[in-house]
Amino acid sequence: MSAQRCPELDELFDAVVAGSGDALEHALGCEACSAVLEEHRQMEKDLYRVVDPLPPPDFVQSVMTRVAEAPVPLRRELTAGFGILGGSAALAGLVLARDPQVLDRVGLAFARVLVDGQAFVPRLLSALVTVWDAAGFVGIAACSTLLFGSLFGLKRLSGEPTISEA
């Protein structure tokens, strides 16, 4: 029997963890506190005997089915994409470096694209001016209707929910 008042349980427990302290000394001589500590010890023994149940037998299979259906993570797709891009670029470079004739032809083609491209812009502009003079607003209206009509149709066909539905 101890003369002092019983400590708060938190205090008692801190003393138990620390292995010393007034609360622990009190508990050694106090029936009530010793009984509480003993109950905790017993309960710990019982708790250690509890085991995790087994998952359902088809658990792993279900997980793997869902994994197979899941979209490939974006990062992995990007890695693969850049891998392919880099690989093809390296291969192309190798082919070019090995055959000077191919290099000549590629250079020529590239130069032609540049020259044609320069001529392309003024021609496109003059064509637009001609179309504008001839058809003007009617042409724009017709083109817009066609464009938006097609887009709307595509969206319907693809079956994607529209924003308002989602």
Binding site: D10, F13, V50, D52, P53, V67, P73
Partner: protein, 193 residues
Amino acid sequence: MMMAVDDAPALPWRDEVAAARKGNRHAFEALVRGVQRPVYGLCLRLLANDAEAAEVAQETFLRAYQALDRFDEARPFELWVLAIARNLCLDLLRRRTRARTEDLEPMKELLASQAPSQEDAAVAREERLSLEQAMATLGAEDREVLALYYVQRRTTKEIAAVMGVAPGTIMARLFRAREKLRRRMQQPEGESR
């Protein structure tokens, strides 16, 4: 959440994680097999419902698969997955408490699902049932810390990593959970604290 691993030389999950990251499903399957029991066990302990536990545990592995690139290999794979599982469970519990308050009914399912134990003493079994019944009436955090420490026998550091709290708080949490458990077991049903 940070955690240091002192016993780092062996990282048995590293090769499988690397293979799984490259899209090797067999490697991921091996990872799932390795940790399915503690993951499902924690889910069941937290949710106290077979079907929900299986569903959330599956969802856990799916999320892990999709986030595998973000996994830090220096951390134990198992703890990472357990942390995902506990977050999903707590989300579900939060949604559930919004719907209804307390129910002891799923306990039947929990008890029916227990793996048979090696010990045959009927007395020990009775004792364990009442212990688990009492455990199921505790709050999620108490159940979680008890399950991780006693059932899964994890260190306080590991538990801290899963729960995202300071390791120094675990022993006190354990004590508080045990104390609540002790009181529940002393009292006839209904009363608490």
